[in-house]
Symmetry: D2
Subunit: 347 residues, 4 copies
């Protein structure tokens, strides 16, 4: 019943196997090795993007902040949801890596609507050099309270960005889970919509810690390399990043693991609804926000469940609070059923 | 005969074993796990520094730049050797993480002398707000062309820094190799000399990619945590960093591996001298700079040797060039002897 | 009828006289002159703050951004109104000078309420190192759509900031106009409320271009000097900044000019209301936001009036738009009456 | 006998007259006024550069740092003399405005030689992403210890920069004095040599505080505007900057004042040599470095002379020290003769 995060569970065994295999012998550092080149080629093939530049970094925050740093200038602003990870959970990393760009928050939940995005962008139009310039749009899929944008919804946002000549960043920490939920290809969820730089996340889907940054305009590639090094994110023993990604790509493990996570979450989602629980996530992949009474929460935790409570834990037992349940690839139906049984006992 | 770098060889098998073991079950992310806490405790014990804050980051550049960012201000300058890694090989990461501090280069090889350090510091004294302020001193041991500072030499540099009220950073990417060469304890090579923040490197000594930053003044700890997160260096699946370090600390593996590397290098060093080769490194640990003719270099490469040439490869066969030989823990005497035999054949 | 801004009109004649007088003879640069020292002393006396550090800079953006840079860290966030000049009109200068701090916007108009400020601050409390830290609160008086906070309102905001251990910045580009409107002393509108750094603006009140930054905690002073120099804001011929401020302080010119500006605005305000115009500013000093039909606006401009329209000028003649009228010290009652007569003719 | 700096003396009377004239009436702010436009046109004409973008900023540090910020990236390095003002006297402003670029110092005095510049550039060539990238070359004329580069010398440096595809910045804080010394036109000393951005300084030549930044590639213009605003250097009452520059351009006042300064310095230079003084500046304009005994220095100061001593004042009377004499436009032959007489009395 460990639903705290999709970074809580184990890496898939094949990831460790790939690392063990990559550990043999000697090679050059800093990505100048065959395995790294091979993995980049595979990702280009997977994304149907033969010209794309592909880089591996160890964390999602690094991937997002570096991606934004090649898309916008220090005097720009980035438009994103007011729930975006780049705003809420990266301790000013985007501001740091861009050299001081601003984030303009689009209100209304984790999925921006085209209207609200347009309003926000138009709100930055009249001030010339006095205000920040329109820099980039950042979309997250799976979004922060667990909702999956449809391809049409993403396309509508990309179209608005392009209408204002802005590039689009995709925070894909859960790229695989979104792809699995939408039953689409990586290309369909990225450059075919107008995404300029996509993060193809692995850490939240069974890897130890690797994200691929896929840059569809190769002119931006070398700058990314320099900024990655400058940020301290160029691994000398790069093969250990590459090996993880190799395992991830083999036999579409990335998709298989994402489907497992989503399947567990779907079972959980159905069970929550069967128990009459208010579920806040409307279009889930592997993350579900729900409401419960604080008393119930305490009972669940006492019974061995683990998940995050959003907000204050200091209230009376009947205070309604919000919980977040995340299924990782490994959680399995047994864990879900145990949790639902516990919940059922309480309601 | 792979002497390109101490990041070229495999990780020690026990590192992979520790990762496999850490991979079992579920835990909280971002360093909030027992293994991380345990490893930090062990490092405090190893350094005889019960109050120290200890953090793990994946690369040496991250470790150095983050360390400097908590020791100095954007309007300061950091005094270091003109061969320092923070100057030559980090693509402006120190400038980035400090918010624009300058590096003042102390000339004269990879080991600063007290006199030259003092001269450099005094050179920054007369300009008030016009020039940068004296921020920190950065020492590297093992230094960049392979020399090991003695404890007395380090102490003399620390004393000068302290005389100017400056903190001292130790770039310890090869901390273990220096300790092994000096036959001293980590405490003797750090806080007992006046070091304020030490990097205890693992990546160049048999780990996949982990450096511990040891901060002897706990008041600087939380700022480091924030800057680490802001730099994208806080791993969500932190246990995989901690597991590597766990293996490194067990049975003093760090020291054992460093001794193996140094022993190979000592054999190599003796062999070079026996062959009449000009060796530029005077007080080596596991890195040796030497001179050879370009023709010899080509022959060695053709025979299967691998190492870096510093400078231009385009010259006549009798041009004298500089090569760098690095022994990692795994290289063994066989590799050394093969290389020396090849060299002997040429001379 | 030139109401475009309080930077549109002439400097007061005595300012030019003071400059002419300061122009005699030779002196040392960079503020190391008697006039600068004397002016700083006078400001300390005016603010009843004998320990305060006082610095002159040429623009309000420089004053604000430098002030924030000594009050918060790159990993912090600054709480301010969503209409704040530091957010809307400084092209990311606060983000630049702080090294990438964020601004957290408090919604609801140009005057933050204590409740909304508290809500915003509490909203940044649960994320540990993942979110930005609480850095500072920034208050503007006179605020951006012309409203003057009462001393009690400012005190309530300062109290909240202090309750969270945060320093408070006062953007006082129109410090004098607020003081005049509140009939209070500079001390009463600054450190007596809990303000830590106040900008005492002159540019919008009859100077050519000088703002004094008054830092009540002298421990922050030297850092300000360094950051000022690093930002390129330390004037070599500093006496020309000091001379302006000298004139400003003599015989309370600052207060006299502010009262003139406020008096013109009060006459304008009354006239607008007499004409049945919807006035958006509720507690004005010398800035008034009002509504009018686009057709009226065009007629006023054709008749020679000058002021800024907020928003789109492309609409039908009966579209309701917002205008901003600013009275500078020199505008006088004649200008006001001419404008009102024109408006009266239209309504 | 006030030779401390060319920022020590008065502004030329016509500057104050122009300000008084500009002070009449109302106008728009932030450079959106006729006087500013007119002055920019005049500078384009003066520089024979009809496409150039021209901006006014208040200080030389701002001019230099902003210029560099549009010429290079945060991961670059700027090549300059190890005596360059941007290195020694701007408290890390270039590092700040560029977002953390490095300065690579070319040794050997205030005038770089082509050979030394080339060596420094080639020294940054072998490290790929590990080292900073070649960003820009920065030349100062008049250089820091008073030497004037010939046009041929500047051309040789520009040619080297262009050979490495690097843009060139000209720190022209004393642009006029160099032009006067070389008897050349502004175009001949800037874009005709390959300079990409030139600072046309006024502050050290009779203005109160204005530098024009002349950007020969108009594609860089808007970025400069944004960075100027973000740095807090866009004056709202811009006409007071423009008025100073207007006076400076009228009847070639800039050239007239520079000639006066150079003429005083030439008289001083001859007198020093007549007295057997060791003069360190070889090709002077209005700045002269010379050697004297500390006892002589004390006597000169006691007699009312003012100038800066470089280095330590604490020594015995016969310690040889270095003094810097700067003639501003107003110093006149009387001041020079008085100083020489005093010196003559001592030697």
């Amino acid at each position: 019943m460990f639903f705290a995060s999709d970074n809580s569970g184990p890496a898939h065994p094949s990831v460790l196997e790939a690392i063990a295999k990559a550990n043999e012998g000697y090679t050059f550092g800093y990505g100048n090795d065959d395995l790294t080149r091979d993995v980049a080629d595979q990702i280009r093939t997977l994304f149907e993007a033969p010209e794309a530049a592909v880089y591996l970094v160890p964390t999602g925050t690094a991937a997002n902040a570096l991606a934004l740093s090649i898309l916008c200038q220090p005097f720009d602003t980035v438009f994103c949801s007011d729930r975006a990870h780049i705003h809420e959970d990266e301790c000013n990393a985007p501001e740091f890596y861009t050299g001081g760009a601003k984030l303009t928050l689009v209100p209304g939940g984790d999925r921006m609507t085209p209207e609200r995005l347009r309003t926000a962008i138009e709100g930055e139009e009249n001030r010339g050099v006095h205000g920040p310039q329109r820099g980039a749009v950042s979309i997250t899929n799976v979004a922060e309270i667990g909702n999956v944008y449809t391809l049409a919804e993403m396309k509508a946002l990309c179209d608005i960005a392009k209408g204002f000549d802005m590039p689009v960043h995709l925070d894909g920490a859960r790229f695989a889970q979104a792809c699995a939920a939408l039953d689409c290809s990586p290309a369909e969820m990225s450059w075919k919509l107008g995404i300029d730089v996509a993060v193809f996340g692995g850490t939240k889907n069974g890897l130890m810690g690797v994200e691929a940054v896929v840059i569809f305009d190769p002119k931006l590639a070398y700058q990314f390399e320099l900024r990655r090094k400058r940020g301290g994110h160029l691994f000398s023993k790069h093969r250990y990043l590459a090996a993880q990604m190799q395992a991830y790509l083999a036999d579409d493990l990335w998709l298989d693991l994402a489907r497992r996570a989503n399947s567990s979450a779907a079972r959980l989602y159905a069970g929550l609804q069967d128990n009459g629980v208010t579920v806040l996530t409307q279009a889930p992949a592997n993350v579900i926000f729900f409401e419960l009474a604080l008393g119930q929460h305490k009972a669940l935790m006492a019974a061995g469940a683990n998940y995050y409570l959003m907000g204050d834990e200091n209230g009376s037992d009947d205070t309604i609070v919000t919980g977040r349940l995340v299924c990782d690839w490994s959680i399995g139906h047994a864990g879900v059923d145990a949790f639902l049984a516990e919940l059922n006992r309480l309601t």
